[in-house]
Point group: C2
Chain length 362, copies 2
Amino acid sequence: MTTSDPTGLHRVLDEPVAGSLPLPQAARRLDTRPTLWPDEVRIRVERLNLDAASFRQLESAHDGDGDAVRREVLDIVAERGKMQNPVTGSGGMLVGVVEEVGPESPLGLAVGDRVATLVSLTLTPLVIEDALEGWTGEDEQVPCDGYAILFGRSIAAVLPDDEAPELALSVMDVCGAPALTRRIVTTYAEESKIDGEASKTDASGVTVAVIGGGGKSGSLSLAAAREAGAGHLIGVVPTDSEAERLRAAGLADEVVVADARNPVALRDAITKAGGPADVTVVCVDVPGCEGGAILATADGGTVIFFSMATSFSAAALGAEGLAADVTMLVGNGYVPGHAAYALDLLRANPGVRSLFEGRLAP
Amino acid sequence: MTTSDPTGLHRVLDEPVAGSLPLPQAARRLDTRPTLWPDEVRIRVERLNLDAASFRQLESAHDGDGDAVRREVLDIVAERGKMQNPVTGSGGMLVGVVEEVGPESPLGLAVGDRVATLVSLTLTPLVIEDALEGWTGEDEQVPCDGYAILFGRSIAAVLPDDEAPELALSVMDVCGAPALTRRIVTTYAEESKIDGEASKTDASGVTVAVIGGGGKSGSLSLAAAREAGAGHLIGVVPTDSEAERLRAAGLADEVVVADARNPVALRDAITKAGGPADVTVVCVDVPGCEGGAILATADGGTVIFFSMATSFSAAALGAEGLAADVTMLVGNGYVPGHAAYALDLLRANPGVRSLFEGRLAP
């Protein structure tokens, strides 16, 4: 191909089927040439963060033999031109420094910027040049010298100077959740006219429940709901010890312990804590939370599903079976400005910081 | 239980696990006593419509032996107190006449109303009293004498006098799609103030694409988008013959043929037909349409997934991988007033009627 496509289609090397190519994520093999198309960016890679599910699979397939894990990662990247675990289908993200920016790149990056990619490694052309010599193969954090390519529609966030890189990465990894939570809470705010002219939104009547409020995406979502002005915040956690930590963080008005897989228990717990919720945010990675989230949500309310364990049909049939007039959103990991917003929440909320640092502590 | 729960929890006969009961849909066995709790309704059943996937499974498991199929349905209903295929997990719907209405029922039904239930048989207490003598077991339409119970949160729609029951049922079966399409198109309409006071919404700038526009839910969604005032309607169909039928029905401004599983082809076809779309409605029951629907949608637009073949993770990761700022909705089959609205669309649109009648014709 002589012209580039913002999706990266011009780097897909698969044979066309019926005249058409798969997108890079679904492709077997990507073109990794270092020369840039005009809308691309090349990154000098410093570190790969393998997706946790992918690393676990590799580790267990090779019985914890780090050399074998390293060889398999090298083989995958050499063969496919990207890091995509063939069993889990997942990738990860990378950290590096911008090496060259095409003249038509819309990403707003400059040479020398230290960035994290927020699109998956499963669609990022990647060449490893140091045979991963600095990696034992025993950890999902992979020191790496090499280069990667970003497309016109990719996303990368500049790492902040004032935060530890591990903490910043950990926040950026889930930054879609708070940004979308803020957006949805705002849609429930009432417009209050001032002097009949200027107007301002008032979300103080909005109740938000976050299932898994003590986790990474959950605590950021609580902070986002507060920042958006929501009047009543309910955090749901699975254990007393997690409840204690979330209470200490001060991010919710009410913290309740409930099993999110038990629909009636979840509904009753949220109702007792001041629900039903206008906005329910599901942040727990266990299957079977759809019914409870729907039942805990007020008529006309919205459920945002951020858990990858969500079943589309369980949500759709569950709401229909309960005659629940709720809007259900597939949590989109991309909202413009999401990374900067999540870092702002980290800086403004000591409670968020303490929960994140507690998770990173060895 | 002495008091009823609007979800029907009071009729679940399963043993509680950790002090809690599953909802009726997930329950093993329901209480089918004919005596009503105050918020319930009892229906005299005339016909069961088994879910197509369920009937196909039964038919093939018994090699087309109708007597064996009938015996299995009788066994399931006798054992579980509801019709839920243990393999497919699905049920179906029923038609009958209201026999008794509890004094606190919120459903608005009167004794003698002929109704179709719009919640699944998988959560509806059912007793069969005629041993299904009128059924050969060779057809998913099951003549039946017996009774069924509706809960406070169930849904039933009164069948219209002026339409053939098969046609009305066929419309009601997919009535969530047009109601939600209308609601979403309306959110994209601009408010235009008239004399600074009264206001009216103008959706003439809204472009809607319906993937699978020639099908049942698709054609109704096109008609709903038109009724809501959308300015430009694009119908996408898989074959030339279906394109011809949809053009003849006059429901779309542009009809294009594209394979919805091919993301780039779908995007290009919709762009050429006047897209990208502000609202994209996915009504085709084949897997792999998430990427194309996302790519065909404008920044800030909405994708409504009505297909049960939708993959939650493909939608979530697909949008993130494409840095697509789109809102993605799990199509909820319940929107208040949905059945009456869908029938209104049938009556107002000869094109919708002709497509539906064409499908019902033997």
